[in-house]
């Protein structure tokens, strides 16, 4: 589904990603872990097409299509969803209206009929249950005055409505208390499907207790330095990132 080859990207002239290779197949959940500043969020934003992130080299294919030449909205319509680390507030626009506009522009693009207000409401109510979201949040302006937990719920709720093929969830677990984390994790688990892939970007192993990934990758200084199964996350929890850093330095020394 997603194929990343030798991806190098920069922000404001500074190279952050130094060559990423990653393959994600339908039905898989990949966790990308790493310390602050390792390039995790940059990778998420590059995949979603955020302006200001320059591609230095490499390629990214999504279902065979060259993702890097597509506009962000076209990537979304093609089935890529980014769960934001810091969901953005849009004053004056109701959550309901925003999401309905989003869903209908995606549907329209796929040649599907647009949903009217009634049908959309029914769908929204159904999906809200997944993350135990309060209905009153639908009538409020997008993320405005939402608590941290409400914002993150809203992200997963949006994902549930938009039904992406590939969901990239950027630190969805940050700033959540344990109850909210459990609710959100169970929402995400309910959205796992054979034809859907997910990339979880996270600092901590904590989230992975609830959402068990197929693969775990460790990102250090813009490179994936180690990939493994779910047990890699546990190892990291125990030893921290330090031992990998040392190991990487040692390997580099040997190679050069």
């Amino acid at each position: 589904m997603l194929e990343i080859k030798g991806l190098r990207a920069q922000v404001e002239g500074k190279e952050i990603l130094h060559g990423i290779d990653l393959c994600v197949y339908p039905g898989e959940v990949h966790a990308i872990m790493g310390p602050n500043g390792s390039g995790k969020s940059t990778l998420a934003k590059v995949l979603a097409g955020r302006e200001g992130y320059g591609i230095v080299n490499g390629e990214v294919r999504f279902n065979g299509k060259n993702l890097l030449v597509m506009q962000p909205e076209d990537r979304a319509r093609a089935g890529i969803f980014l769960g934001f680390q810091y969901p953005v507030e849009i004053p004056g626009i109701s959550n309901m209206y925003f999401l309905k506009t989003a869903l209908n522009s995606i549907r329209k693009n796929r040649g599907l009929e647009e949903l009217d207000a009634m049908d959309f409401l029914a769908l929204a109510k159904e999906k809200m249950k997944l993350v135990d979201m309060d209905e009153s949040l639908m009538r409020r302006a997008v993320n405005e005055g939402f608590s941290g937990g409400e914002k993150k719920r809203n992200e997963i709720f949006q994902m549930a409505v938009l039904e992406p093929q590939l969901a990239i969830l950027d630190e969805t677990d940050s700033g959540l208390d344990i109850d909210a984390l459990k609710t959100i994790a169970s929402g995400i688990n309910a959205l796992r499907r054979q034809d859907r892939a997910m990339i979880l970007v996270t600092h901590y192993q904590r989230l992975l207790n609830y959402i068990v990934p197929n693969k775990v990758h460790v990102l250090l200084d813009g490179r994936i330095v180690r990939s493994g199964g779910k047990e890699l996350a546990l190892e990291l929890e125990e030893k921290g990132y330090g031992w990998l850093e040392e190991e990487t330095i040692r390997e580099q020394a040997v190679n050069s």
């Binding site: 302006e51 962000p72 909205e73 934001f84 953005v88 849009i90 506009t101 989003a102 522009s105 938009l162």
Partner: protein, 480 residues
């Protein structure tokens, strides 16, 4: 396409109403002197008191200078180079729409303002002002059954001189400012409206102003009187052809609300703004003021200002009656080289008077947007309350937003609140929308629309739609 180029595209959309109607026009020579004023008055067959008033205004005008305090810049206006009267040629004032020149009807049709009653928006009566005169007023008879007078100003002068005499200049005296004095001297037509005691006007009343002739100024006057316990909602719309020279529009609007009366006045102003290099466009120098004369009266201004090369306009409320309420809701959009200096004055005189000001300024391109507002609490205005909020949204790196709030309080029981914010349209917001599948153009519209929501929700439905369209925004779900 990048977010910035989309914003520019949105801001540079073509002006749709720039066409010229080819119609025979009765114009008088350019220039301003007593002869011209006598000529205008004679053309309108006015009673003596009107001519006297005009001449007084003219003489006062001669002693005045262009106001220079506003944050707008333009070459001095040559008042002798303007034509002060232009009217489509008609043998006599048409008695019904069937007698109105089809060319004129077609013009309004093209502007989306059908004048034939069967095509009309249900519940909106229209007075259509073309250059210097009113060409048609719809639903007049139906309103007359309730005792409501809704007609052109010229007709009011002929048929209701006692009302005109009593109220003309009551709220905006000709000594008020240079443009008000000029208007008082040369105004040619406009709308007149009187709502009798206890009547709730069953439909929206509206005036649609169209400047067509070249080198012509439009100087109309609107006078609305809401007698005790009455209610009226009034709408005003405006467009003009695209021309290279600047045209002057200097209107005066006076509102009077007696005891327990309410007037809601909404404007969607879309005069030609000039081209993208700032050439041409209308100078919209307008004096609008309402007087809450009676107890418990209320005047509410809502304006959406998207057109004009320069806007100079401060719809204000004089809160004389105890417990009276004044409101001002405004959206002003400036792009390319447009300049707007707009805001309001709330003068609290009565006890327990309240006022609310919500101003939203949007600047794009090289647009300069200024909010200028004054809240004045006089000595006897016990327990006066004011809430002001002005927000500015910047859509480019070259535009500007300025805020000048003036507050003058002479009574210690007053309670004032003022909030202000300036924000740049966020790349984060745009990206968030795009990431959800919404095109960047639709996203800009959505964000701007959300920004203006507090004001749009004050507009009557039909107008809200037009306002939304003007900002290139889809209305669905956002206003209500």
């Amino acid at each position: 396409m990048s977010a910035n180029s989309n914003i520019e595209e949105l801001a540079n959309r073509e002006y749709k109403y720039g066409f010229v109607t080819d119609i025979e026009t009765d114009t008088i020579p350019r220039g301003l002197n007593e002869e011209i004023i006598r000529l205008i008055s004679a053309k309108k067959n006015e009673p003596e008191f009107m001519l006297d008033w005009r001449l007084k205004a003219y003489r006062h005008w001669q002693t005045m200078k262009d106001p220079t305090w506003a944050n707008v810049h333009f070459e001095p206006i040559n008042y002798q180079d303007i034509c002060y009267y232009a009217a489509p040629k008609m043998k006599s004032k048409p008695k019904s729409l069937d007698e109105v020149d089809p060319e004129l009807l077609a013009t309004y049709e093209k502007l989306g303002i059908p004048l034939r009653e069967r095509d009309l928006l249900a519940g909106v009566a229209v007075d259509a002002v073309f250059d210097s005169i009113s060409v048609a007023t719809t639903f007049k008879e139906k309103l007359a059954e309730l005792g409501i007078i809704f007609c052109s100003f010229s007709e009011a002068v002929q048929n209701h001189p006692e009302l005109v005499r009593r109220y003309l200049g009551d709220v905006v005296p000709f000594t008020d400012n240079l443009f008000a004095a000029l208007n008082s001297a040369v105004f040619s037509d406009g709308s007149f409206c009187y709502i009798p005691k206890g009547v709730r006007c069953p439909m929206e009343l509206s005036t649609y102003f169209r400047i067509n002739a070249a080198s012509t100024g439009q100087f109309e006057r609107t006078l609305i009187i809401a007698d005790e316990g009455s209610y009226v909602s009034y709408l005003e719309g405006c467009t003009a052809p695209m021309r290279d020279e600047n045209q002057l529009h200097a209107a005066v609007v006076e509102l009077i609300a007696h005891d327990n009366a309410q007037i809601k006045y909404s404007t969607v102003q879309n005069w030609y703004p000039g081209d993208k290099n700032g050439k041409g466009g209308i100078f919209n120098f307008v004096t609008k003021r309402g007087k809450c004369k009676g107890v418990n009266s209320k005047i509410s201004w809502t304006q959406v200002e998207t057109g004009s090369a320069i806007t100079w306009k401060y719809p204000s409320c004089i809160l004389m009656g105890d417990n009276s309420i004044g409101e001002f809701y405004s959206v002003a959009l400036t792009n390319n080289y447009q300049q707007a200096d707009t805001g309001t004055k709330m003068i609290h005189m009565g006890k327990n008077t309240r006022s609310t000001i919500v101003s939203k300024g949007i600047s794009a391109g090289h647009g300069q947007n200024t909010y200028r507002g004054m809240v004045k609490i006089l000595k006897n205005a016990d327990n006066a309350r004011n809430y002001s909020r002005c927000d500015s949204l910047l859509l480019s790196d070259k535009c500007g937003a300025h805020t000048f709030p003036y507050i003058e309080v002479k009574n210690s029981t007053a309670l004032m609140e003022h909030e202000a914010s300036t924000s740049k349209i966020g790349e984060d917001q745009l990206f968030y929308c795009q990431q959800r599948g919404i095109s960047s153009e639709a996203a800009v519209s959505m964000i701007v629309n959300g920004f203006c929501k507090e004001v749009f929700k004050e507009l009557p439905m039909e107008f809200a739609v037009e306002a939304q369209k003007l900002l290139g925004v889809s209305l669905e779900g956002c206003v209500g």
